[in-house]
Amino acid sequence: MPELKLPSAMADLRPALGEIVGLGSQRAPYFSALLSSRHGLTILVDNREEQVTERPPAAGTVLSAFDGATNFERAIGGFTREEIQKAARDFINGISFQRYMPEAQSEHRGDFVTPVQIDPMELSVQEKLDRCREVQRRVKGRDPRIVNVRVMYRELNEHTVFADPHADLAQRVQRVGMFVIVIVAGPAGDVRYDVLVKSGSAGWEVLSWSDEEIQSVVDGALALLSAERIEPGEYRIITAPGVSGTICHESFGHGVETDMFLKERARAAHFIDKVVGSPLVNIADDPSQPGSYGSYFFDDEGYMAAPTQIVENGVFRRGITDRYSAAALEIPRSANGRRQDYSRKAYARMSNTYFAPGTSRLEDMIAQVDQGIFLDKWSSGMEDPQGWGIQVTCHYGHEIKGGKITDRVFAPIGISGYVPDVLQSITAVSNKLHMDGGTCGKGHKEQVPVASGGPYLLLTARLG
């Protein structure tokens, strides 16, 4: 069983948090302390060089005082006990708090650690580098048109301690990811690439690659050398799980972060208990999902992780919350109060967001499409919670003709449309769920690790 392994300065400060919270609680209606350390490692191996770099750590303490109207915070780099104790005394002096009675909370105490089979913290850098080299070696000689193969390993180690009058919690969340990027050049010197990613809140056990997977990324890159631009228009499409997840993430993920309700930025606020999609559509956010890249045990506001059913059989049920928006809107909490790191405030943020699987078989779904597009891979997405417009860019897609996927490739492909129209058009949902890990911003900042996913979906959308 992996251990908590708090950084030593954090472990030294933790026993003093009860006293610090007690000090703050004498004046503030609600007071909490968060110790947050996020550090990591990146290894890059390609045909021409290797790099091993530490991810610059973001480590610090957040003292929060909340009076129901304003959240006052003092964020201090590091975990120096005397400095934190002094800050706890000083920063709430001079603040005129409003009268506020925090909602009654149950007691939560415990230490939590991501279960891993091959613990990255137990492997040496040499061992990790050798594993990356081995993957790179397996890919690079597969075709003479390959000009480079990049294998990138990313490891993120998060340690969090949270204390308030009702909680004393600690967690170590271990996230890993590996990218295999194949870069090829055509006869005219045109460069194309394809990427394959594996990730999880897990250890190295999730980073193994079959020969078929490796060949698929080589084939994907080579196919892109003859890719065409798609004729803009409305198409029957089948989305691969990563594309399904991105649609989900940008529509009823960002669109139901309830801080956006508070800011009058989310159209979904007017659609609670109303139909927003086909009856086949079920969407959830679940930070407690085992192994997914966006998982955690408690959020940055000390709320214990649990699933939230967002859309149920096509009906929008509820959003995901941080403490502030839940209090202001007087709605139930969910465990989605997340920070980029100690230097930023908590917002309502997604964790693992996905379309739930249905009952259809992929082969049957493809057979239903006479003329359409199979969208293989996503590359980016952007939210529009107020306008409910959707932008998902796909790295490439294949033609479907006569119920079969052909070799004809289009790239890149943008999906656009009005979110309820897109969700209403879903006519089949496959029976297998797959999650993709990644990083999500709020607008153009506030990056947090998340996963999104789903099954294969059959729907209609505008492509360009």
Binding site: A9, A69, T70, G77, G78, D190, A328
Partner: protein, 440 residues
């Protein structure tokens, strides 16, 4: 602690070179929602970043170089961190490269003097100006705003004798304006990063966004379009310089790292366009010495002084932007971090570039072309179809095309502007771009 780290590094005979940076940040953050101030934060941070180089050898026995790094918080174990970085540096065998030596560091203006003195008061003032500018308009409401002000200090020392300091300020603001007419709602969002409050142009920016918010209430999905597309100000800045999630295509293809990796096909002296250049000839600089540029500095993370590098001259590729490592690999001059994008003034008045008909894109959802191929299919958040003396607002549709092909057929305005990461013509007319609309 910096002196202790430097002393410890000087004791290491197993290192071929080292750099240490002491980075301190202090700042204030204000967040507003319709009900009032949601959050008020004071933030401090301090860390030491160590990079080391170590002589290694390839499997064939040729001389090679390894690099490693480590970060420390105040009070952390210095020798342990250096040991870790040294250990990692011993694991890899890259081509031999070095560190920059001492140089004259230009005195690039990077600070808002008022913010340096009192960030809290300055950012409260910025928030109040946003509120006052928005409240003038009864039919538009400010529903969210964020104002961050930070002061960054960096002290860099390396084994070749660089010992330099720089201080910079950074202001990040976001705001959301909302309007409603019957059942129709609209919003506009803007985010800006500048070094000085004076460069935000707050009142003018909010006036523009008030107009966009109100016009957005009347916006429909556009019909498909092929023809002139105009970008101005912020939209043009995002097109040219990217945003804080993505750099531009130029940043990727003009990078020595991309050249070394086989990603960039550009060759010095060769054309950057694959076809005929139908518009104005194209020249661009990567400029870290631009006064108050968001990506300006006196020196970068390696200690290379700020430079203004001509990347493309008259449609021909002129130079790669190269860190010391990739400069050594490719045997080219080191220019350091990329910096801001600068273009020369064009030859046509902005007024002439706005000749009808055209489509003006005011805001993209996220302009993110493929950084290598330059292909894009990006949703339009808001724009206008300008013809027959009318500006018809629209939302949605996708701008479809290729980045470098678009730059091969564009005319630039004679009037210029400064937009944080971009200095150059404030208006560009792309002569032949395609919009995939919601209806044919």
């Amino acid at each position: 602690m910096l002196n202790q780290i430097v002393d410890a590094l000087k004791q290491r005979s197993d290192l071929a070179g080292w750099t240490v940076r002491h980075v301190q940040t202090r700042g204030t953050q204000v967040y507003a929602v319709p009900q009032g101030i949601e959050s008020q934060r004071a933030v401090d941070g301090e860390r030491y970043l160590i990079d080391v180089l170590r002589n290694t050898s390839t499997a064939e026995g040729s001389p090679a170089m390894g690099s490693g790094d480590a970060s420390l918080l105040p009070g952390d174990d210095i020798n342990h961190a250096i040991d870790q970085a040294t250990l990692v540096a011993g694991l890899v065998a890259n081509p031999v490269h070095g560190l920059p030596g001492p140089a004259a560091f230009p005195d690039v203006p990077l600070c808002d003097a008022d913010l340096q003195k009192d960030a809290y008061t300055v950012m409260q003032g910025v928030m109040e100006r946003i509120r006052v500018a928005a409240v003038k308009h009864a039919d538009v409401r400010l529903t969210a705003a964020e104002c961050f002000g930070e002061i960054h200090t960096t002290h860099l020392v390396n084994s070749r004798g660089i010992d330099a300091e720089q201080e910079s300020t950074q202001i990040d603001i976001e705001f959301v304006l909302h309007s409603q007419k019957g059942d129709r709602e609209s919003e506009t969002f803007d985010a800006m990063t500048r070094r000085r409050v004076a460069d935000l142009g707050l009142e003018d920016v909010i006036e523009d966004h008030v107009r966009y918010t109100l016009d957005s209430l009347e916006a429909d999905t556009p019909a498909s379009w092929q023809g002139p597309v105009v970008l101005r100000d912020d939209a043009l800045t995002i097109f040219m310089a990217g945003d804080n999630l993505n750099g531009s295509v130029i940043q990727t293809l003009a990078s020595a790292a991309s050249k070394y990796a086989g990603i960039s096909p550009w060759e010095v002296g060769g054309p950057v366009f694959r076809g005929e250049v139908k518009g104005d000839s194209f020249t661009v600089w990567a400029n870290r010495s631009m006064p108050f540029g968001s990506a300006s500095d006196r020196f970068d993370a390696e200690g290379l002084p700020a430079q203004r590098v001509e990347l493309i001259r008259e449609n021909e590729f002129a130079a790669f932007a190269a860190s010391q490592r990739y400069a050594d690999y490719l045997q080219i001059p080191a220019s350091g971090a990329f910096g801001n994008i600068e273009l020369p003034a064009g030859k046509t008045s902005a007024a002439a570039l706005l000749a009808e008909p055209h489509v003006e894109i005011v805001q993209f959802s996220w302009f993110n072309p493929d950084p290598i191929t330059g292909d894009f299919a990006t949703e339009i958040r808001f724009g206008y179809l300008v013809q027959n003396g009318k500006r018809k607002p629209f939302r949605g549709g996708q701008l479809v095309g290729n980045y470098m092909d678009a730059l091969a057929d564009v005319r630039w305005s004679a009037e210029t502007g400064f937009f944080g990461t971009y200095l150059g013509p404030h208006t560009a007319r792309f002569n032949e771009l395609k919009i995939a609309g919601g209806s044919e």
